[in-house]
């Protein structure tokens, strides 16, 4: 990342500001005084070992947990600032925060297209005048429904799922289900897209495609992306900003390069050098770096 890019990045408007977030379960302090920001037009990655509190941070942001302390301010598209910790979960999607789940949560027995229509529940519900216009079949509702299908089609095209639009979502292959979950989140027209381990279980080729998709969402829609991920090949290639958690605390933050060479991060997460390196000929052949950073 060049200096110019960095300057441009800092100039981007802040979408989400996490300040002194704490989350306590019983006696366990799962998140301890974590602060960071996520900006529009940027991909912010949260990484850290298992149990570091990444998903908990996510659940606080998206309203599934109520934080024990701290402030989560989110700037909606009209400029108003919402305090996420005060909103009920379902309202958070309404103001522009969408999310996906670590273990995919689709509506498996509904069709792919229906999954995307459910994502547009709020605008469509309004258009159907809380079902009255819909029951009567008024043109205004039918138009809204057509537009909804078009938005869905747009995202199906972006994620390469048009051909399977009428399949039951549960019948899709695993990688397609991951993409569908992202398409579904995008159909809520979010300002901030929160992805919980989107590359888990994908093979390298699928991971690379996912990285392209995320980049295109960032650049095309200009929205912020918040990402939890273990796959360093994804994190390091697409992130603009990386936050590292360990035992509920933030231990480092910065550009991917900076984080990658941070001593604390290496110790807690990436690990020291391989104790048992590859035979040199194989290593050379593979072009694998032996410093244990991942590619």
């Amino acid at each position: 990342m060049t200096a110019l890019d960095t300057a441009a990045a800092t100039a981007a408007p802040v979408l989400l500001k996490v300040e002194h977030l704490c989350m306590r379960f019983g006696g366990l302090l799962a998140v301890n005084d974590v602060s960071f920001t996520a900006k529009a037009g940027q991909i912010t990655a949260v990484i850290g070992p298992n149990g570091a509190g990444k998903t908990t941070v996510f659940n606080c942001i998206t309203g599934f947990y109520r934080p024990s302390a701290g402030r989560l301010s989110f700037r909606g598209d009209d400029g108003t600032v919402h305090l996420l910790e005060r909103l009920p979960g379902y309202r958070i999607a309404g103001i522009g925060v969408a999310r996906t789940f670590q273990n995919i949560r689709l509506f498996p027995r509904m069709s792919v297209l229906e999954n995307l229509m459910v994502a547009q529940h709020r605008p469509l519900m309004r258009a159907s005048a809380f079902s009255v216009a819909g029951l009567l079949g008024l043109p205004s509702y039918r138009k809204a429904e057509r537009e909804g299908v078009e938005l869905a089609r747009h995202w199906l095209e972006r994620t390469g799922l048009v051909d399977v639009a009428d399949w039951e979502a549960g019948n899709l292959p695993y990688g397609a289900q991951r993409r569908l979950e992202i398409a579904r989140a995008m159909c809520t027209r979010p300002q901030l897209l929160c992805l919980d381990e989107p590359a888990a279980g994908l093979n390298p080729r699928e991971s690379a495609e996912l990285a392209d998709l995320l980049r295109s969402i960032r650049d095309g829609e200009g929205i912020g992306v918040l990402l939890i991920e273990h796959d360093m090949s994804v994190v390091m290639t697409i992130s603009d900003h990386v936050v590292v958690l360990d035992y509920g605390r933030k231990i480092a933050e910065g550009s991917p390069e900076a984080v990658r060479s941070d001593a604390a991060v290496i110790k807690a997460y990436l690990g020291e050098d391989e104790d048992d390196p590859l035979p040199p000929e194989v290593a050379a052949d593979l072009g694998v770096r032996v410093d244990g950073e991942g590619a």
């Binding site: 379902y90 509904m110 299908v149 399949w167 039951e168």
Partner: protein, 495 residues
């Protein structure tokens, strides 16, 4: 090793094992029948005493032994032999003397079941092995076909229903049965909204049915309001009861919700039973006014002051059947209204949200759906249709009491929904014909009716756990049309 030696080797080891299994089954049967069949409690002047029926026990145990043996042999691949034997046995049972008729029925039924199992096994053996999943797929394809057929068969059936009262065979009893069936179909469709679509297990649906019925009965009794004024009110009151109950309990999960709805149903029944001054308690309310012809005409021979008689208005002979036919059409229209409403709302955002909630509540929340409000809507709408049905029930019967609103009633309606295949509108119709129609057709066997009913419920569920006609069509298609649908089904099956 050749097939023959393989078989010979197998049969040597199969028979002792099969005999052992059959013996175990016989011992179990002995334990089951000894106290209940073998020792009947009877009143005597000295108090309760027992008379023995050990002969029946012996026969039952023998039957179980033979039956189990047959089933084991079918499983081990001797289906053809068992099929022959079971048919022969059926003939023998038909002719042989039995101490009591029920034993003969049991024996015949057992032989029949084994014959069917053997026949199915023969088919499977020829067509390659088929697992439960394959059978489910076949059932799903069948259901899809049925649903496609309903597109044009449905209107025909409705036409038939409309013409029914004027068919030559349609006497009073046929129309009565028609009304009964339509009432349950309506209740089934109403409950389908909450159970089939929203996926919330409501074990107390009968409460709303009761609220509707008592609303009309009480309003008519205390204020003399007419049926037509009370019908919408009954629906509204039931919907409000749904809201009142739903508000506190809808955040409960799964079975907690189920037990609370069951409790609510019981509470309503107990209140109706004990609030003697208001509801008449166990005596119920009688003399509930019959509906008139939309407030313009009466169905009596000599109409009340200021009313016209229906037969005079249309220049017909007086016939008490006219009112029954009118009731029949009334419930037909009500039932079709529920159906139309459900089919329509299923394709609206709220209907999709119901189904989405059934699939994954957490994902719904993340998509901005307020689950309490959506569930509440499903609950109260479902209750509303129950209320309408209740008002109809009250006016048809002319008499209601808490007796009609027991848990068994809820269970029957739920059974209709689940047996038919949750969320399947056609399924409700088919299941009603089975659950209500069949026992009605065998009324003379009244003693054994409920026994067979319970056994039927178990058997159907074991045979088709997801219901008879469970198949879901998407509410909206990107690639519409028949061909696209067929192609999609094929591709999905391959994936």
């Amino acid at each position: 090793m050749t097939a023959a030696t393989l078989n010979a080797g197998a049969s040597r080891s199969v028979l002792p094992a099969a005999l052992k299994e059959a013996a175990i089954a016989a011992v179990v049967a002995l334990a089951l029948t000894l106290p209940f069949v073998g020792l009947r409690t009877v009143d005597s002047p000295q108090g309760l005493t027992v008379v023995t029926r050990f002969g029946e026990v012996a026969i039952a145990v023998a039957l179980v032994f033979i039956g189990r043996l047959g089933l084991v042999l079918v499983r081990e691949g001797y289906a053809a032999a068992v099929l022959g034997a079971s048919i022969a046995a059926a003939v023998v049972f038909w002719l042989a003397p039995f101490p009591t008729p029920p034993l003969r029925v049991i024996a015949l039924g057992g032989a029949g079941v084994i014959a069917i199992r053997a026949a199915l096994k023969l088919r499977d053996m020829r067509g390659g092995a088929a697992g439960q999943q394959a059978r489910d797929n076949r059932a799903d394809r069948f259901a899809a076909k049925v649903q496609e057929l309903t597109r044009w068969l449905g209107p025909l059936v409705v036409l038939f229903a409309v013409a029914l009262p004027f068919m030559p065979f349609a006497g009073r009893s046929v129309i009565d049965i028609g009304i009964l069936l339509l009432t349950y179909i309506m209740l089934g469709w109403g409950l389908n909204i909450i159970v089939g679509y929203a996926g919330l297990l409501d074990l107390g649906y009968v409460a709303f049915y009761a609220v509707g019925a008592y609303s009309y009965a009480l309003l008519a009794q205390y204020f003399g309001w007419s049926f037509w004024a009370c019908l919408p009110l009954a629906g509204v009151l039931a919907a409000m009861a749904g809201l009142m109950l739903g508000f506190p309990v809808l955040r409960l999960r799964g079975d907690y919700f189920a037990i609370v709805t069951l409790g609510f149903g019981e509470i309503i029944r107990i209140v109706l039973l004990n609030w003697y001054d208001f509801t008449g308690g166990p005596n119920g309310i009688s003399g509930i006014p019959r509906p008139d012809f939309f407030g313009i005409a009466d169905f009596t021979r000599n109409p009340a002051e200021g009313k016209v008689a229906f037969h005079e208005m249309f220049g017909l002979e007086f016939d008490p059947l006219q009112r029954i036919i009118f009731l029949y059409y009334l419930i037909l229209v009500l039932a079709l209204a529920v159906n139309f409403f459900t089919l329509r709302i299923r394709k609206l955002p709220i209907g999709r949200a119901w189904e989405a909630l059934r699939e994954d509540e957490i994902a719904c929340t993340a998509l901005g759906i307020d689950r309490t409000r959506i569930k509440l809507a499903a609950f109260s709408i479902s209750a509303m249709w129950g209320g309408f049905a209740g008002a109809f029930f009250a006016t048809r019967q002319g008499f209601i009491s808490p007796e009609s609103f027991t848990f068994l009633e809820s269970a029957i309606i739920l059974a209709i929904v689940v047996l038919g295949g949750m969320g399947s509108q056609v399924g409700v119709v088919v299941a009603t014909l089975i659950v209500i129609g069949l026992p009605e057709a065998f009324r003379e066997l009244s003693e054994y009716r409920m026994l067979a009913f319970g056994m039927g419920m178990v058997l159907i569920m074991v045979w088709r756990p997801s219901g008879l006609l469970a198949h879901r069509e998407p509410t909206v298609l990107l690639h519409g049309g028949r061909d696209a649908r067929r192609k999609r089904a094929a591709a999905e099956a391959r994936a």
